[in-house]
Assembly symmetry: D2
């Protein structure tokens, strides 16, 4: 398939926006046709307006694009105009519905509408069928376009092993403690005076996201209605002095008695949904199980499968609930920009976004 | 009371041994009269045999002491000869019973006998009555002396708030995730290549200690018999790039329904056992509750009360069990050397160690 | 002497201002009588207006003081009203002359007037006689009060060993490379994303300070005129992931051929100016020479002598110039608040500030 | 050219040996045919004998090779048998001459013979003509093979900009201060307790290497004789908490007066020797000059050009000598394994190593 789907990026100058720019520059399907930024940067070439913080250079083609103000008149082109949203929460809340109303497919990394019942909270490997909410969403609002959201980066870190066990054994409860990387807070984000020789056992709003979003991701979309999964979750998020990579330590209560070997086998034998094979950037091995008891580790495992794998280990009995495990994902790739791009690929594969420039 | 109780230190040249030397130099009751070390260091002045790694200078008096081989002929003096043991586990297993058999009060930081039923696993603020196991221990073995153990530094970090709630509400289960400092592994300990820009979700043997030791500390000593507490514990230990201070994130199931306010009030109103007021280095405020949601933090709170306080915060509802909290203690002070010295003070106050040089 | 000298603090809510508050709470001579802050905080008790970032609690007495706007009507009291200035540079430039004109002794940590010829740039151990510039300063401006400045924290880290060798051997040139702690940038200061697993070889304006300020500190005050020292200095400042403590690696060209032993002896035999013995917080050993080749180190040596010592080591031949050394000082104590307080003590001892409340 | 040059690796299980294994697995010319290790690992498949510490998996083919004892009977094959040496210094001193005597081309990363007059100390971009020492080396010892050495990783970090200015302007003296990454010390190497929240201003033997090796690299090979460059160098090495990437801050005295612009132009206009274009892994841009005053930085720049670039910045006047600059290279790639592989490629291009399996 040729590179024929033009896309826009809302909020292209921020940390997540820069990741979209970087990743889409190499994408086999999508081409960045338009970008928006704040009033401060609008009207200037991207190269001049952005404070580029990623390794490597600004992609040549995007560097010359003129930053537009965020507005639904944005000229993206394409049969279904697509925008990736890296807007701050408040702006996302204001603009994303307007873009959907104007006919755009809005693929967002923002938290504004994640828990809205008719907005799919989507990960292709976990719940690709949740896109069936889209027609209901369009009908509810009279929108020609729609919004699809990615979960929080900490939710992402735990969700695939939970999904695998939910399907195999049933899932009743989970106690989650995360050790999250500083890049999750953006730039400048966490002051070095707060995190050097220290950890911070608090990330505002994060515990609630960890307790709520999995219920939606693990739920069922039935007749355009999302039914939350009946799983009880308690969570506590910590910030640690790690650059990239969120680690989660999870204890679970399952639907039935399961041996450690059986639980590991379920992870090792799991296969992604068939549709994932059509997605060009889907990882060959989305779930990597480590038998070394000291793995996974953020520095060693965050980049596995181009930052798109869940690295899982230490499945063992829990003295309080049933089983425990440790899981790691790359928070700005799988947990943010790359995850949203995979969602866009899924929407193309499912024909919610029409091919063609 | 004069400084009239001479003590020995077994394994005085290692990391924990150095802490004993440093802390005892200023102690109002105890005076270091004899020290032991490995064959490599025995026979030389301490100053020459030790690779001193603590801030500040080697205490003058101890620096001139000749390092002895570890042997029960050690001349400590005192009505009850006292030794603090900072021996490695294997040596502790070999030597500590021999010292008890030779009439010494062995106050150990080693793990060898922590879970032995007739050895008190002791923290003065938590279970001072467990010293009632000592006569049974002496009778069981025919020892004139005895062994008293301190818990693991990670166990220590969670135990006081668990004790307070156990007494107030009953305690059924706990899920514990720790973020532990590098100093807990001694020197050279953790390679910088393993921990810079990284966390390691594994500390060999630590999870089992966290799951077992609290059952003994929270248990009851009845007629010279220790009854373990019937609490279910699941634990996972992480190493993080923090110099000192272990943080624990804990979710608990209590014996009855308890509001957050009630649970915080139990912590804030708790008073240490009366005997603690007789111990010269017992902290004025052993339990400090923080209402700032971002506290406690290792760097800010590890040194509270000379490193002897439990700093607790974030008591709130847990979506999976009942309540959650975060707790921090200084791992090499409260969790090691200072804790053992407090145990020795308790033994003096309870007359298991006789005053007099 | 009784605690009878009231003082004010300008800019008491910032990072350096908090240090002044903390250190002056325990001071034997000075008592904080008035504090100023920004418009946001003025009118409220200090406890409520400040975002306290230091370990330990806000001193009780100051916590209740009402924050005043920065204005020369500030009621400090005292025979010579004294203010410590922790103002940002632009505000310092505006306000410090007005306070001097209003009769205050302004003891500043700001950079605004450091290189002004008639303002003493002062360290009691280095150039206590430079206060002889004060009468000229007062005459030049017609001020009843005056301004005395502390050098930049990086300048401080190198200046005492340079001074000792200048006096002993003559000093022609120095090449300085610093490794500076993050606390030097204040809070929030350096983003963790800039400094984790990284060093930043650039601190805006710092190189120029390192090249200029030593010429003034090493110069001579003659007849109310400051003659800069004729030493050539090249400098480059680096930010490193260390919390506190600036390290400098220095290569020097001396006025004559000097052996390593002779150079070390000069450091070890150096005695502070006699007036320093009258200053209550002056360190007993301002200059500590380490023979261990791996010392000094920031974590091990920054707190020596309550953070007021220069820790120096590794004096050896330089293959390009004459000799090399490494020096460390605590940047927020000796290099900022404590250094300014020592200056105030010197002004009392020299009677530029009159005793009495 | 086909992949037809078999090579051996001496000391393949250590940190540098692992890098050779990893890098050679993808090499277009070389193929690993034999590997040696310590007595502990000899006789077992590499996969079982090695404690693999690099990201990514052990290359399939090498994983199955049986580790041999280090011995000149090693069967490598090839017209000129080639061995890369990652041996520890003492073993290198013993074995490398024996391998040369046995006809091997020994391309070593060890320090044992770096300063030996007839052993080329080689970097293709700096001094490719120094291989003219090889025939003299062979004649001096009667060896059919030879030894070629790579410089120390800290020397490497400064040498290319020094070379460029030496050629353009003459070079009289340099004062070098390095900030070196922990990976330079191997595994386990630096204890985390020594480097967390700290820097260590001492690396044993490193200062002498920094002062001596550049004189050889910048010298001239004339009639099989190496003439050291007449440049005076003073150096001090620091260890900093950075994973990879050595930064050097350098002040130089040049042969004539040079403006900053002229000096930058010399760096930007420099072209590598023509022979480098024949080397398959030679970087397209070996020298990258940054105009951003905060660059280069280790985390941002160490991976430039697959870790083979010198990233240079901050050329400006030095108040003591003439000019200053900052330079960064990747210490385990350009400064170790990749640098040695480039040397091997140069030897093939210059026909010191014959093509053919």
């Amino acid at each position: 398939m040729e590179k024929i789907i033009p896309v826009g990026i809302l909020g292209a100058t921020g940390t997540v926006g820069q990741r979209f720019v970087q990743l889409l520059a190499e994408h086999p399907w999508f081409e960045v046709a338009a970008i928006t930024g704040s009033q401060r940067t609008a009207g200037r070439p991207y190269r001049e307006g952005v404070n580029w913080k990623l390794n490597g250079d600004i992609p040549e083609a995007v560097g010359e694009l003129i930053v537009q103000p965020t507005d639904t008149k944005l000229a993206v082109g394409g049969k279904t105009p697509v925008v990736f949203s890296a807007l701050p929460t408040a702006e996302a809340r204001e603009w994303e519905p307007q873009f959907a109303a104007a006919g755009f497919a809005v693929i967002t990394n923002a938290s504004a509408f994640r828990m809205t019942p008719d907005v799919p909270l989507l990960i292709p490997e976990v719940n690709p069928a949740h896109t069936s909410l889209i027609p209901a969403q369009q009908a509810n609002h009279g929108w020609p376009g729609f919004i699809v959201a990615s979960p929080n980066c900490s939710t992402t870190s735990v969700i695939l092993p939970l999904k695998v066990w939910q399907e195999a054994f049933g899932l009743e409860a989970a106690v989650i403690t995360t050790l999250q990387a500083i890049s999750g807070a953006g730039y400048p984000g966490v002051s070095s005076m707060d995190i050097l020789d220290n950890v911070v056992p608090y990330i505002g709003g994060e515990d609630a996201k960890l307790e709520n979003e999995p219920k939606k991701l693990l739920g069922a979309a039935v007749n355009g209605q999302l039914q939350l999964a009946a799983v009880k979750i308690g969570a506590q998020a910590n910030r640690v002095p790690v650059f990239d990579g969120h680690l989660a330590s999870v204890s679970v209560k399952l639907g039935r008695s399961v041996s450690v070997d059986e639980a590991i086998a379920a992870l090792e034998n799991w296969q992604p949904p068939a549709v994932c094979r059509q997605l060009p950037t889907a990882p060959a091995r989305p779930l990597i199980y480590h038998h070394d008891p000291a793995r996974p580790q953020p520095r060693l495992d965050r980049d596995a499968e181009n930052g798109l794998a869940w690295s899982v280990g230490q499945v063992r009995e829990c003295g309080a609930l049933d089983l425990r495990f440790v899981s790691i994902t790359h928070n700005t790739l799988r947990g943010a920009a790359s995850g949203a791009i995979l969602n866009a690929e899924l929407l193309v594969a499912q024909n919610f976004v029409k091919r063609g420039g």
